[in-house]
């Protein structure tokens, strides 16, 4: 009798242990895969940071609806970097050491990726950068990948196609003015422009920068007009893009071509408010609702994104950054699934070796983690009437002029002809 009690007790203990272990396994299998990031939710870049985060959340929701990654749900752990690079090391240390995230992606923009690079290299992380311009140009860190389609030569990504188009016009323009803000991106873009101008052989008649906090752009535009350039290349952030464009209309600056690297003309509120003032501007873009850009899944993405963005007071159309933020997560998700684990090196090796089908088209990474072949679009604003936002939902208002394989319209030249 005593013996049988001992037997029962032993069996109970064994069963309990087995159940407990199974329970642990079950819990571990259901443990979420945590992806950590800092994002500009306040501060100067938050107008892009928040939509980027929303796109990532939509990806997470879609993945979780399909059972997650490796059979585990996905969780995004994020903090507001306040558009302040100084917060980035602290945020990622917390994500990695306290929150124990399995994977990281960067916040939005060159300045916020820069302080993350040494951390990623030190900890041998796989890092996908969200719209960083030439962040890895000096480091050559093999496990860094960058999602904007600037290509292997980011510094000249906007200037090269812009001036290439200018050089093809008849009569060929001779003189150029370049102007931009004293900030990281515009400075890089202007350096690229100087390189391209030298290669093509244009004559520079104006080359100046301005502080980002400038209130009145009319003296700058008037000084540019005084040099009578054929082409004006502008590398600006949203407030200065608006300021420069309004001043150009007020001063009557009408070169043969104008635009290039103006950030902000892709944002819904600015497109809507500026309306016909945008006509004729030839500017870089990454996605527009033109037929050649309708990649698989992009329409479904916007069906989810646009109502949520409108409700949350952010970029309603979301053509600029959100699809690429979503695509970054698609790349990471596919790499995790295909490598069947969370090994940073294996994930990086997979991303480096393979081509990905995403909602922004096929992506293959090349030198320094940039797109192997750049795909910066040059679009010209045409036939915009009034300030109705609906006109921007379909094709025709921002036809793709460059590259040739995605072309959906013809350049109206000179600039003044597009204003009529």
């Amino acid at each position: 009798m005593k013996r049988s009690w001992k037997m029962i007790a032993a069996v109970t203990v064994v069963v309990a242990l087995v159940l407990a272990t199974a329970g642990t396994f079950t819990a571990r299998a259901a443990d979420p895969i945590k992806i950590g990031l800092g994002m500009a939710l306040t501060g100067g870049l938050s107008a892009n940071g928040k939509p980027a985060l929303l796109a990532m959340q939509i990806w997470k929701d879609n993945v979780n609806k399909k059972g997650g990654l490796l059979g585990r749900p996905v969780e995004l752990v994020f903090y507001d970097d306040q558009t302040n690079p100084a917060t980035v090391p602290g945020i990622y240390s917390k994500l990695l050491d306290v929150d124990k995230v399995h994977l990281v992606v960067s916040g939005y923009g060159t300045n916020l990726i820069a302080p993350l690079m040494p951390i990623a290299m030190d900890r041998k992380l796989t890092l996908i950068g969200i719209f960083g311009l030439a962040n890895n140009e000096k480091y050559h860190y093999p496990n860094y990948f960058q999602i904007s389609p600037t290509g292997p030569h980011p510094a000249t990504a906007t200037a090269a196609p812009f001036f290439e188009i200018a050089a093809k016009q008849n009569p060929k323009p001779q003189t150029v003015a370049i102007v931009g803000a004293d900030a990281e991106y515009p400075q890089t873009a202007l350096a690229g422009a100087r390189e391209v101008i030298k290669q093509i052989g244009f004559k520079t008649v104006y080359d100046k920068t301005y502080p980002p906090s400038t209130t009145d752009y009319t003296p700058i535009v008037r000084a540019i007009k005084a040099t009578n350039p054929d082409v004006v290349f502008i590398a600006s952030y949203p407030p200065d893009s608006v300021g420069m464009l309004r001043a150009a209309h007020e001063v009557g600056l009408q070169p043969k071509m104008m635009g290039g690297g103006m950030v902000g003309l892709q944002f819904t509120t600015i497109m809507q408010n500026m309306g016909p003032m945008l006509n004729g501007i030839l500017n870089y873009d990454y996605w527009v609702p033109e037929k050649p850009m309708m990649f698989a899944g992009i329409e479904e993405f916007f069906k989810e994104y646009q109502p949520r963005a409108t409700k949350e007071g952010m970029d309603t159309l979301g053509y600029y950054l959100p699809p690429y933020a979503y695509a970054a997560m698609q790349v990471l998700g596919e790499a995790v699934e295909k490598t069947k684990g969370l090994d940073q090196q294996k994930i990086a090796d997979y991303i480096r070796a393979n081509e990905f089908s995403t909602i922004v088209g096929k992506i293959k990474f090349g030198r320094d983690g940039e797109w192997a072949k750049g795909r910066t679009l040059m679009v010209q604003h045409q036939k915009i009437q009034g300030n109705n936002i609906e006109q921007f939902r379909g094709p025709g208002k921002k036809p793709v002029i460059y590259p040739e394989e995605l072309k959906s319209g013809t350049l109206i030249y000179p600039y003044s002809a597009a204003l009529k």
Binding site: T42, D182, K208, Y210, T215, P219, I220, N273
Partner: protein, 290 residues
């Protein structure tokens, strides 16, 4: 590249910008210059005024500057309440120096975050028929979106000058800035007077916000661009000098405009603040400070 035509245009553009800078700085001139309250949150009220103009413009198509004028009583009340809280919590206890500063920092961040939560972080602009339009007088181009804010800025300066010099409340504000105890002995309540002054300062900031959004797009964090400029103009003009604020605004505006036209816009802030340092070295109380 010099031409008389460019020079004339640069000077006029600078004058117009100066009028706007004066409008932006008048409120802080009153609150900081006369009442000695380091209201760091002043630029947040500037942005709040800009958003009020944006909302009414977006919803009803109302003119942003008209909205700015109509909303001044509302912001006056907001300012009065803020001062009462500040007084009750800090000034009355003699804690206004450091803790008061923290209080206004807190208001700055609360307003900024509240605007972000309510309106998101997208750039907000207004529409008005005169934006993007200009006219020419003797070869000098004048843009309406700078002319109107300048006219309003000069009018605000004139009205505030008359208010401070000709009305009971105005004189009492000047008196409270000099000797609070003496004013109490004269039978006036200095706290009430300061409440009025603070309210007027916030109302001025809100109207300047409507002018700002007429000129440029605004996001909740735009306030940070104006903190330094507001205080610099107030100090350059002379603490408590309303006319000095206009003169200082014009000096900064014309300097920025001339630098942008002839030497490169990047030099504009350095030269403007160089002038500020130079003036302070010669006249520590500012141009018109006592």
């Amino acid at each position: 590249m010099f031409s008389w035509d460019l020079l004339a245009n640069a000077v006029v553009a600078g004058l117009l910008l100066g009028g706007f800078y004066a409008a932006v700085s008048l409120g802080i001139g009153l609150v900081f210059g006369l009442l000695d309250i380091a209201n760091i949150a002043q630029p947040a009220f500037l942005i709040l005024g800009a958003y009020a103009a944006y909302v009414m413009n977006e919803s009803f198509g109302a003119d942003p500057i008209l909205i700015g004028i109509l909303f001044t009583p509302v912001f006056y009340l907001v300012g009065a309440v803020v001062y009462r809280v500040y007084y009750g919590s800090f000034e009355r206890r003699g804690d206004e120096a450091l803790r008061g500063l923290v209080f206004f920092f807190g208001i700055l961040f609360i307003l900024e975050v509240s605007l972000s939560l309510k309106f998101g972080v997208d750039y907000r602009l207004v529409q008005a028929p005169y934006i993007g339009k200009s006219f020419e007088v003797a070869g000098v181009g004048i843009a309406f979106r700078y002319l109107i804010p300048c006219v309003v800025g000069v009018a605000m300066t004139g009205l505030l000058y008359l208010f401070l010099g000709r009305t009971f409340y105005g004189r009492a504000i000047m008196a409270v800035s000099q000797d609070q105890a003496a004013l109490r002995l004269m039978g006036a309540d200095p706290i009430h007077i300061k409440t009025v002054a603070f309210g007027v300062g916030i109302a001025a900031a809100s109207l300047a916000g409507a002018l700002l959004i007429t000129i440029a797009p605004v996001v909740p964090s735009t306030d940070r661009d104006y903190i330094g400029r507001m205080f610099a103009i107030t100090v350059l003009g002379g603490m408590g000098s309303i006319g000095g604020t206009l003169v200082a605004g014009v000096i900064l505006g014309v300097t920025e405009s001339l630098m942008s036209t002839f030497f490169g816009p990047s030099w504009a802030p350095a030269v403007s603040f160089g002038i500020l340092l130079l003036v302070l070295a010669v006249r520590p109380a500012g141009l018109f400070g006592r």
